[in-house]
Amino acid sequence: MTEKYNDYVNRVEGHGVLNINFNKKTAKFEVSEGERLFEGLVLGRNFDEIPFIVSRICGICPTAHYISAIKAMENILNIEPTESTILLRKLMLSAQIIQSHNLHLFFLALPDYLNLKDNENLTEKYPEEFHIALNIKRMADKILEIVGGRSIHPINPVIGGFAKKISENDLANLRFNLENTLSDAEYAVDLFSQLDYPKFSSPTTYLAMTSNDYEIYHGNIKSSDDKIFSPTNYKKKLKEKILEESSAKITYFTGKSIMTGAPARLFINSDKLNLRSRAKLENSRIDYKSNNPFQNNFYQSIEIMHFFEESIKIIDKLLKKKIATNPEPFKIKSGIGASAIEAPRGTLYHSYEIDGNGKVIDADILTPTGQNLSNLESDVQKLLKDIKNLKEVDQKNQVEKLIRAYDPCLTCSVH
């Protein structure tokens, strides 16, 4: 006997169902994760347990949630971490972006463009590509193991610093390996710049963190229509819509659908990319301002290379001075604090309120995918209209390809 269950879209993180009505020419992508209620299950728990708990929102980007929660708690408790601590967190976030992008590009998205059914075929038919993917993955995993304690669900970062000191020797080794694998990252850019992306244009509003660098840790949030706001103000600027048919809340900015993540970061900060990655972007035949969400795959490969270069720069800065990461002392006090960082799929916001005993009394998490879903919602509809002359099965495949190009993390979106 076979029981009834949903047919979830393949090669996407988390559970979503695509419903196309070919007669009415409508397409709807529905998030069908069950409500996980993380913002509720942290209530009443001690502030220092929160990074540990919220990292379990997502096994693809646990570091992003972990560090966001730490930052928000530090804002409440007025803790200023040392420069070494901040640099090491940036190194972890860089590795997190490389790790997540690499998984998406080679394991989830690439089979769409090589007409493969899965990654198993990639191993056999494209051993070179698979080898590159593994090298990049191992590099990112190694950074997260050395600095964070393990490659999935970090341990070592704590509120105010790091539990265990990271040795200069380990960092120097990482740097050496990064130099050696930079050519793999470059290869990935070449590969993803040559793929045949479907023609599609969907102008939207992009949102990314901005400051003097290609920022992922500090800074304000800037939109492509030149509005700037402070992360502490995010609840006023970004509005979540609750729908009966979706367990993910969909986020809008000034009433409009938005896109965050690699396309937004490039749109807003491309002039701040590291030198070699920037040259790659500028010399490519792909126009990164052409509003084609399929090209997210190429943008993510550019970011992999950028964050390789960035990791080397960060380690150089770390090795110039004595590394000081002992947790800063603090007193528990009540208060509210918010934080933002750049996660692989875009800007991630966390905010908490704690009482005088350090117990959480309110929590709010706003994820990049929640923001991108606003755009994806209208894009699947728009794409279906563009391709209405294709065979039904091809229409479905193309829409699924678009969904995968967005790299949604539905697990995160329903936290």
Partner: protein
């Protein structure tokens, strides 16, 4: 030689264990020559259901359709393995008190009428399972050992000893003796005592081992002058109370 036919399924969770499974797949490609993957939604378009030898299931079935999927998995598989702590014990999602779900749902989704999810429970609450590979996330050596045991017709060994044992073998200093709120003595091993190895007390995330002496650890915490509320919170991370809530619901 006929290959071992396996499938990997993800219910609601962070998908971290699945990624560790992917890490295993890459590291032990020689072992995998003897294995055929029939069904793995995250990385493949194939969805074969015929003659599955082993289904690895991660996550908790918090939606009704996931409970149906789970029953199908049981019906089509020779062995079902709970992959990771969520599947084995309910995991972090089970920290939420089922009695407070309604109230918390209204708080997080104001105005929404219909809740699509049930309390997070171990998969063994719905189907019979054959093995557990514990971990949050599971680690690659444990998966490797399990698969190689099966390939060699051995019954895979199940870990039922506390985190403390791993700590001792690594010669870590005992955090409980230092007065920290370490859950090691209650918690099932499988993580190689990774948190205590960083000087951080065990959180209990792998769930309670059989015959754990909860009373003794509670007393130790009371002697250390921790509040009853804190102690209750910490013990909750080993999901000791999950069985109690099941009985109430039944």
């Amino acid at each position: 030689m006929t290959k071992l036919k396996i499938a990997v399924f993800d219910l609601t969770d962070c998908e971290g264990c699945e990624l560790e499974f992917l890490n295993f797949k890459e590291k032990f490609s020689n072992l995998l020559e003897k294995v055929e993957i029939l069904n793995w939604r995250l990385i493949s378009d194939d969805k074969k259901w015929q003659d599955i030898d082993i289904s690895f299931v991660e996550g908790t079935p918090i939606k009704n359709d996931e409970i149906n999927l789970l029953k199908n998995i049981r019906n089509h598989s020779k062995y079902v393995v709970a992959l990771g702590t969520c599947a084995a014990t309910g995991g972090i999602p089970a920290l939420l008190d089922p009695k407070k779900r309604e109230e918390i749902f209204k708080r997080i989704y104001p105005g929404k009428k219909y809740i699509a999810s049930n309390p997070a429970k171990p998969i063994s609450n719905y189907i019979n399972i054959d093995f557990v590979i514990n971990g949050c996330p599971v680690n690659v050596p444990d998966i490797e050992r399990f698969v190689s045991d099966i390939l060699n017709n051995k019954i895979p060994s199940q870990k039922n000893y506390p985190v403390c044992l791993a700590c001792k073998s690594k010669q870590n200093q005992c955090l409980l003796l230092e007065g920290k709120k370490c859950m090691g003595p209650l918690t099932k091993a499988g993580c190689n005592a990774i948190c205590p190895s960083f000087g951080l007390p065990c959180f209990g995330c792998l769930g309670e081992m059989d015959q754990a002496n909860t009373k003794a650890l509670k007393k130790r915490f009371q002697d250390l002058k921790y509040s009853d509320k804190d102690i209750e919170n910490w013990i909750s991370t080993t999901w000791k109370n999950i069985k109690d809530t099941e009985e109430e619901n039944d």
